[in-house]
């Protein structure tokens, strides 16, 4: 049952970016400074408004919290239904946390059409938050597609040389997947109508109850329609080709948001729809999906190794890293799922930070070719420290966040009943080694060695603004690495309950959720019940 206590707390951070977007529209375009600071303030307000969610969220409650249900299109039973659970809580906070940083990072680097740029960023934030909190398929789809528009403009207007190609490719790729998902969404609504005494609905909670009753042969198609859409977004091999183009051409903030949050919409969707709605089909497709993730992990790493452009290297590393997330998801073990969820956050932080670092270099040299650099450590010592942390987090060094996520997903996939094959973990583990190779090698060529390119002699170290963009990321990278329990405990019950219900559907029995969680659950319900 969804919990409706203090539902307004969720609506405030959801609508603040929209309010910000609308206020930007009314500021004169000459007032660049005002536009920048209004955007920053709104994104900071959104972040602070999302903090109460973190503290008020009750780990022990099963089901969605801060649940709102407002009638929207009565004839379709589509409603403004929002709420969060342990997984969406983390992603909502990741979004509100990353946004101010990416906005700050744009202050210097964006030099034209400020009004449109900052308006688009806020619209994007509104869309992303909407995706993570929607509990209505129609609302979800609207937010899902809403993101296309600002992202398309961000790449297309403020991007690099081949921005138009990248923007159009991004748009079309994503749209192909999402329109097939739309058919699945409509079909499910109609399924509710075809049942005796039923009516059309887009209520996720109702659909979740009805989904197991859909005949398996149709479930498979629905599963595939959803999965295709999400796998393109993730992107899972072989649907990844839009990503390097989009990343390389996008402005720094665009890349940070793309890597930090947008890609997580895909993995989020996989869990929310494919896992929660179609466990039986998942059982059929878990292995193929796992193979694709393993191929993605290795392929992404190998391609990253041969890149000469730092940004492209980081982009391909995303393909590799997200393979771990998908592997964790399809392993359907509490560890795997927890690992996937925490790895979504990790990837957002560490890859976001890597893109910021690449942005720092690009701002100074207007090139991202590895061969143009060398010995940067000597001229930019502060930057060197930050870059090292970002790189090590991405490699998966124990003590930093990446290790936790990768460890958990590998552990989960190793003991998974769904995959039932240790080779998945063994192959994927090689991805960790490759990551060390391509990242360390890149780092060595850029940062160490002799600084023999005269253009690099006079580079200035991090400015104060750049420094403060990176510090918050470092704090969380270390925090998750050292004491992940703060974050893991938020999604623990969710992961266990989900695995439990999937295993019960597929195998008939399940050891999950473990008793401990239920005890917490029962007492909390009593408390919440007043």
């Amino acid at each position: 049952m969804p919990h409706t206590d203090s539902a307004g707390l969720l609506l405030l951070p959801l609508f603040l970016p929209l309010l910000g977007f609308l206020s930007i529209l009314f500021i004169d375009r000459e007032q660049e400074k005002a536009i920048k600071y209004v955007t920053l303030i709104f994104s900071m307000l959104t972040f602070f408004a999302s903090l109460p969610l973190w503290f008020m969220f009750n780990d022990g409650l099963d089901g969605f919290q801060f649940y709102t249900n407002i009638s929207w299109i009565p004839s379709l039973d589509a409603g403004f239904r929002t709420g969060i659970d342990g997984m969406s809580l983390l992603l909502v906070l990741l979004t509100t946390f990353i946004m101010p940083i990416s906005i700050l990072s744009s202050f210097e680097s964006i030099k034209k059409k400020h009004k449109e740029y900052y308006a688009m960023l806020l619209l994007l934030e509104f869309g992303m938050l909407g995706v993570f909190v929607s509990l209505d398929t129609m609302l979800f789809y609207v937010f899902w597609e809403l993101i296309l528009i600002p992202m398309y403009f961000l790449i297309g207007i403020w991007g690099g040389k081949d921005r138009i190609y990248a923007a159009v490719k991004f748009f079309l790729y994503t749209l192909v997947g999402s329109l097939l998902m739309l058919i699945a969404i409509v079909w499910m609504g109609l399924y509710a109508k075809w049942l005796p005494g039923g009516h059309f609905t887009t209520d996720f909670l109702i659909l979740k109850q009805l989904a197991p009753g859909i005949p398996l042969d149709i479930q498979i198609w629905l599963f595939l329609a959803f999965a295709l859409s999400f796998c393109i977004k993730v992107p899972l091999f072989p649907f990844h080709t839009w990503l390097p183009d989009a990343h390389v051409q996008a402005p720094t903030a665009g890349s940070v948001i793309l890597a930090g949050v947008l890609l997580k919409m895909g993995t989020y969707g996989l869990i929310r729809f494919n896992l929660e709605l179609f466990p039986q089909s998942l059982h059929l497709f878990a292995q193929p999906l796992a193979w694709l993730s393993v191929i993605g992990i290795i392929y992404g790493a190998l391609v990253a190794m041969v890149q000469t452009d730092i940004k492209k290297l980081v982009a391909y590393s995303s393909v590799s890293h997200l393979g771990f997330v998908v592997l964790g998801i399809v392993s359907v073990t509490p560890e795997g799922l927890q690992g996937a969820i925490i790895q979504m956050v990790n990837h957002g932080l560490s890859t976001g930070m890597l893109f910021l670092c690449v942005g720092v270099l690009y701002e100074r040299r207007h090139t991202r070719e590895i061969s143009e650099f060398g010995g940067i450590t000597k001229v930019m010592p502060k930057f060197a420290v930050m870059f090292t942390i970002a790189m090590m987090a991405s490699v998966g060094l124990p003590g930093l966040n990446g290790f936790i996520g990768e460890y958990l997903t590998l552990f989960g996939s190793f003991q998974s009943k769904f995959l039932n094959n240790p080779w998945f973990s063994i192959f994927s583990a090689s991805g960790v080694i490759f990551a060390a190779v391509y990242l360390l090698w890149m780092f060595q060529r850029v940062m160490f060695g002799t600084n023999d390119n005269p253009k690099n002699h006079t580079l200035t170290d991090l400015t104060r603004s750049e420094y403060w963009q990176l510090v918050p990321l470092v704090i969380f990278i270390v925090w998750i690495g050292v004491y992940p329990k703060t974050f893991l405990s938020r999604s623990e019950l969710y992961a266990q309950t989900l695995v439990g219900s999937i295993e019960k559907t597929v195998f008939g029995t399940s050891a999950y959720p473990k008793i401990k969680a239920i005890e917490v659950d029962a007492s909390a319900v009593k408390k919440a019940g007043h």
Binding site: R29, L172, L180, V186
Partner: protein, 478 residues
Amino acid sequence: MIQDLLLTAPFTFLSAMAIIAMVVDALIKNSARITFLFSVITLIVSGILAIGTFGHHGIGFNGMISGGGFSSYFDVLFSVGGLLTIFAARSYLQKEGIEHDEFYSLILFAIGGMMLIGHSNNLLTLFIGIEIMSVVFYILSGYMRSSIASVEASLKYFLLGAFSTGFLVYGMALIYGATGSMDYGHISMNISRGALPLGSLLPIGIALMVIGLSFKAAAFPFHQWAPDVYQGAPTIVTAFMSTAGKAAAFVAFMPIVMVLMPAAPAKLQMTFAVLSAATMLIGNISALAQTNIKRMLAFSSVAHAGYLMMGLVSGSQAGYSGILFYLTSYMFMQIGSFIIVGLLERRGEEHLQISDYAGLSKKYPVLAAFMSIFMFSLAGIPPFAGFFGKYYLFSAAIDAGFLWLTIIAVFSSIVSVYFYIGLIVKMYFNEPEKEMPDTEFGLSRISLFITIAGVILLGIMPSGILSIAHAIFGHSTH
């Protein structure tokens, strides 16, 4: 008699006013200003009358004309379309130097014809309505008398239109022969009773009528006139023809399909499904290759006829509601985009290539933003009106068992996105290739703001129109 007049008040009032406007034209020199104001007031009043008669269902004039509900809704829609057109027409016509006095009364006549289509309860009145509308369109498409393209469009439209009218009237005659009546109610009753003495004529009659109406709706394979006519006609006339005109065609289609569908449900559904699939594919694929913006929008309007036909395929309450919603949202997005095309156009057909829109966002950021919203909406991207129209039609088609049609529709939408966002690419991502023309907005502003508000509000809050649609079709299909 009084009762009958009240029932059809919006239509009769408008027709009377159109005749008065014509007389005023003839008597007063340079009366454009006067007839403009006169038409605005007329359209507003008949719109209000239509809202007032919405709840009064009934049939009058010896069963020839119906009123209330369905017809009232479309009276309002046609009035709104007319208002949007003439507000934008003022500055456009002045710019092009073709603001002849009779323009506004012609628009009124066309709307009169469209309203008559919506009010018709008999094949004869339907025919008269279609002809009144079409004749005005023939005149209006040739309104730019000095332009060869415009005159050619007019002539082409007239010849082909006259030909298609032949199909239509022949089809009506055969249906009359088969069922023994021209009245919708009687035809429907006789079909459901079965055992028609000349029943074999019925399918031929239906086929011929479908051909005639498909021509008016610009659906495949009777769409070939549309690109030439839409390109040649003055832009503002194209805006009107491709929205209100298309709406009128579907307003004619809906009751006819409701009446005739029971004669051969499966066959008719399949016919419409094939027509629909072919129309959207041909429309969208042809639009890909266009370099002229009016031609591109013309082909896209063909494709939209295909989406609309999905509603006819389903033949259900949801399908007709979908058509109603889609026509309403299409009215806003299509008129809006043509208004922008018209604003940027210069005398003598300049500035109509898609490449001329390069860098539009530099000089006209608001126009470019509006145009992008119209394009996104036409492409069916949420949260704009076009998305909900499609959602509704798709769901009606799947509900009727036409999943394959929906999948084709989805893929043709993806094709369409390519050229819709291609225009946005030009406007935002490319640098201007040549000097942007200065433009006089005038009253077009009113139309632009109404259309953009319509596209956004219908997208965010579709439930108002949807519940009206349910009230209308829940009443007439049960």
